[in-house]
Amino acid sequence: MSDATAPSEIPADLAQVAEEKGISLDIVRRALALGFPPDAVKQNLSMPGVTPEAAEAFIAEQEKIRAGGVINIPPELAETAAAHKFPEALIKRALALGAPPAMLINQMQAGITAEQAEGFIVQQEALRGGAGGEVQLDLSWMKVPTEWGIRVKPGRKGLTVGMINVGTYADVPDYWPYHTEMPRGAYPIPGVPSMGYSIFEKAELWSENSADLYEEAIQRRWRPSSDVPWLSMEDLDPDVEKAVCQLCTHISERSLVAGDIVGRWLPEMSYGYHEVKLYLSTAEFDAARWFEVFRKRALSNGGGLGVQSPGYFHRAMIDARAWTETSAVLHILANSQLKMLFDIGYYTSHNDAERTIFSYCLQDVARQRAYGSQHLRYFLTRKIERREEVHHYLNKYEALLEYEWECDIPLRESLMILLGGGATPELMRDGALKLEYFRQRWANDYIDQLSAAGLGERRKKVHHSIKKYLPQPEEAVAAA
């Protein structure tokens, strides 16, 4: 066959694949001369079971077809086509385009319809429709004026989202001017309809650690079904089992709400800040996983679900009108309290399963707090005039959270039972004292988080029922 195609015209990677398969470069040249794109030839040669003999037979058949010869349909293909009601003419058109018979059989068996196949074949025929079988291409898109030649190498953690922020792709503008789903760094085309985003300003959602938190969440993911040693559980005292199940019910419920809240805000965030959207998608998944694992715990050791929470606080969070308000309340205030619940669950674990669950959950919730505190820090440094607004949010939600705490007797009593070790009055008194200890830890931890976000003065303004747990100024001085 023709030697018109110089060896230098065979891409090096294609030549390497051919060599590995023992297929001569002459066959490769004949395939290219037939108009098959180099990538397609390489992909087909790479498939398992491709031998030099099979490649020769396929190319010879294609050359015969292009020369006007009869198109033979292999018996097995004909049988499959008949069974799936594919017209013979359609099969011949597919073979004329170079489709391997085995692939056609697979496609039909996978359920593709004759109509779908014809649509695809028409497209391919149009691409080959030029004179002499030349492909008619536009290719103007290849002159896209984006930064080119980027070649980021993986590091010790692999190829991370943060690492590919190089050159112009690292430019994260303070204001994102596009209303479409165009990824940052791509080239816009006119006329694309708006996606309806409402957050276009970096200060309204950005956190410097978002890309790292996304990678961390992916790296440190866990599977409730198989990472938790469920068989380590044994029967508990019935009152204690009821307390565990009430705690599980509460966490499941607030996890559902947390997932809904984040899910509601994601479509509002424009694509200029994909690092945040990526991280928050994992936070939404955290919430789903918490719901899953606590429901599983409640339903796997002889118990069941408990009673619903009053829900004042959760419902108020859903009604928040700004993402920074939502994040400060959900990721710092609510999640600091949730961390207290995880701490109590961990501290009172009755088996390896519970210890594992709470240990993983602590890791997840700390990641969410890391986003929350660093977003608030970013917001406060760019929106100095809105500092009081943040206090306003917190005034409202701290009061609601404390009201919810007072109203949620099932939750508080279940925690007392867990911490006391039983439901007798004496044990519950002990549990109540320990619960106060955990509340004190939570209050200080919450203020530490806000201080890290740059809102240290909150210590003076925090709701009185939280403030009572904080060291008084004289004590703080003495402690120092």
Binding site: K157, R220, S359, Q363, D448, S451
Partner: protein, 149 residues
């Protein structure tokens, strides 16, 4: 028949932490937890011993003995008395891993001043974000024949 070899090392010392580091850096179980990036101080104030550990990606990068100020110039530091450190390590040796009363989390909860301390609430959260990696680090010390000063 193979004969198990056990590293002997004295706690606290750079050699002891290096022995632990050697184990976790070759431990698929440690890598399974995912990447861990943190600088961690170790403080044993009653015997004036201070160390700084650097965790990066899937490995422990660096161990060094340092002064108190440097051990605090970290994301967080773990601080407890020598007796509490000894009890924790002996418990790990006896059980193959820390029992619930001797995990880093439990020790942190039970200490009114916290086991994990920091000057920054955000940086302190690294203790929770990578807690399983840190617990794994100390748990593998059960493979070391630890002597105490």
């Amino acid at each position: 028949m193979t004969e198990a070899t056990t590293t002997k090392a004295t706690f606290p010392s750079v050699a002891w932490f290096e022995a632990v580091r050697e184990i976790v850096n070759n431990d698929a179980g440690y890598k399974h937890h995912g990447t861990c990036d943190a600088t961690v101080g170790i403080k044993i104030p009653d015997i004036q011993k201070y160390f700084k550990l650097t965790f990066e990606a899937f490995e422990v990068d660096e161990i060094k003995e340092c002064d108190e100020a440097e051990s605090e110039n970290t994301d967080f530091w773990l601080e407890q008395t020598y007796a509490k450190w000894k009890e924790m390590i002996e418990n790990i040796k006896a059980n193959g891993k820390a029992d619930l009363h001797h995990t880093l989390n439990t020790l942190d909860i039970e200490d009114p001043n916290d086991l994990a301390r920091s000057n920054d609430g955000y940086r302190r959260d690294a203790f929770y974000r990578f807690n399983q990696s840190f617990q794994h680090f100390f748990d593998v010390s059960e493979q070391i024949d630890t002597e105490f000063v």
